[in-house]
Symmetry: C2
Subunit: 353 residues, 2 copies
């Protein structure tokens, strides 16, 4: 019996996770694998009930699970909160508590959606890469992170890594590259940061163990350009936490399919957390309009990485592609084909199932 903890979170989180759970239940019927789903609160929903975005109960449940499926956190309701009891702290906290150091974000062109990209078709057509973002180190968790000096008029944050932290995430990226087109782009700012110079050393050292992988280094500013001018060049990208935050959000819009983008946050065993890249979209919450496909595709990654059910994962991915190719999509995708059929959250979930 496998346990999947579901953290619906806020806004459209409950709707999109409900859809993904329906898809998972349906595909599980045809498999040998027994799965139970346990729901817990995180983010704003947890603040409302427990006064904290990440209750101990939620951490405990996650820690005894095989995988976690998360919706989204945050919303205007909690914006007035002090910066330390905000919904996002739940997200950062669970990543850290679970030690999920590698965030994978596949960026892939969907034929049916290419015309909704801000980029011209020729730039997007062959895009198929994965960003591997370090998720539990760097500026996000380094100390000191504080005001100091006379009248607290100075402020510092700390970008801290250990060699081991860099090694384990770069290793993941190499392993992923080996399963794909064997091309790794490591992104850093080695002309300025000491941490980037260590990062580059680690990549070059590990490269010796993966002679089949073509490795190159790009500076983060240059990568921010190349993601737009030549996104087709990339296979696997690996970078530290903050650079990864910025570049993966940039990358998420180039294929015109932000509502479609899944993510997986992994560690060295099979346990992982899976969530859509999009936010909690409080403006459309509860209206049945939300696009559940990113969460459904996250559920596919969950099957692949945490439950060793690669075939079932591919089935879901094929079903999603098929539904789009038939012209069905939710209202958020700005496609403009004749004959397109706009459907709601439940309908598109039914179609995928």
């Amino acid at each position: 019996m496998k346990t999947i903890t579901v953290l619906p979170g806020d806004g459209i989180g409950p709707e999109v996770t409900a859809s993904a759970v329906r898809v998972l239940r349906s595909i599980m019927k045809h498999s040998q694998q027994d799965v139970q789903f346990v729901e817990k609160k995180i983010g704003g929903a947890a603040i409302d009930t427990y006064g904290t975005p990440l209750p101990q109960e939620t951490i405990d449940q996650c820690q005894s699970s095989d995988a976690i499926l998360l919706g989204a956190v945050g919303g205007p309701k909690w914006n007035a909160q002090s910066m330390n009891i905000r919904p996002e702290q739940g997200l950062l906290g669970i990543r850290k508590a679970m030690g999920l150091f590698a965030n994978l974000r596949p960026v892939e062109a969907y034929q049916a959606l290419i015309d909704s990209s801000p980029l011209k078709r020729t730039f997007v057509e062959n895009v198929d890469f994965v960003i591997v973002r370090e998720l539990t180190g760097g500026l996000y968790f380094g100390t000191p992170s504080e005001r100091r000096g006379a009248n607290n008029e100075q402020v510092v944050d700390t970008l801290a890594y250990s060699r081991t932290e860099i090694q384990r995430v770069v290793e993941k990226a190499f392993q992923l590259a080996m399963k794909r087109r064997k091309k790794l782009t490591s992104i850093d700012k080695a002309n300025v940061l000491e941490s980037s110079r260590m990062w580059r050393e680690v990549v070059n050292q590990l490269a010796k163990h993966y002679p089949e992988v073509t490795v190159n280094h790009q500076l983060v500013d240059s990568a921010a350009m190349q993601l737009i001018t030549n996104p087709g060049q990339f296979d696997v990208l690996v970078t530290e936490n903050m650079f990864g935050d910025i570049l993966s959000d940039e990358a998420s819009v180039i294929t015109g399919s932000l509502g479609m983008m899944p993510s997986a946050s992994l560690r060295s065993d099979k346990v992982g957390l899976y969530e859509p890249v999009h936010g909690s979209a409080p403006d459309i919450a509860g209206q049945g309009k939300a696009n559940p496909l990113a969460t459904i595709l996250s559920a596919a990654l969950l099957l692949r990485y945490s439950l060793d059910m690669d075939q079932e994962a591919s089935k879901i991915e094929t079903a999603v592609r098929e539904v789009l190719n038939q012209g069905y999509h939710t209202g958020d995708l700005q496609i403009d084909h004749q004959d397109d059929k706009i459907v709601n959250t439940t309908e598109i979930t039914d179609l995928v199932i």
Copy 2:
């Protein structure tokens, strides 16, 4: 008599600065203002002669100048250098030595170039904004920046600011917004970084002195998306050093005119350093192919900000636009209009003059 120090640097630097100096000399003939040009070495060229990318002689000369015009630094020849005697150190060093804390990068659609953008025409047509990047603080200069711990297996960089450092650059951005469409977007990562929370406080405090300016805050990851999905929304953006490095390079490709983008690095008096956004393009150096327009437009900014010659600056900008509208451009701009005339560095400079 005003003194302009010219730092040609490496690669195509000497060619593009020569073009810009020719344009400046020609426009000066019709003005009351006497100007002398003094040339000094920086970057790889300085390493070759003095063994350091920023000789004291260059610093001294810059410090007694009214403005500095820089070409570009770097090239494969110096890539093997240790990270501390690299060409880029010259650039970082002169910014710091001169206290040039505000880097301005205008991003503007040129009608003649819109079709060379990777983005669809409708996304780019009305783009007209300026990024104000903090240039002498943050992760670039914070200490400690070092290896530490047993066997040096830990590494830290430090993102440090004082409130005063934040205030002066944000103030510049407000002043600029007042001269433009009165819209300021401040970019930070306030949900994670203490320095960003101070940044946001400073922006909100200064906003009270500029009641006419509409201020909003965007998170850096979200801004990385919005620059692509809706670049037309921006007027003035202001952000810290590293975020500015990444976002301004990202922004530089959306209008399809990277070879056209000037920059100004300013402080509180009128002294400034002006340079094209593009690099030293060693592959085409010395062949007369370089596009000098970004440097010529940087020279226009020099006239505007350092020499109070706004009219002359506008004349240069109009001339550049006119030359492009007539279908002339260098080979780097990927335009594909019938009747376009590809010209070389000297020819396009002649046309502007």
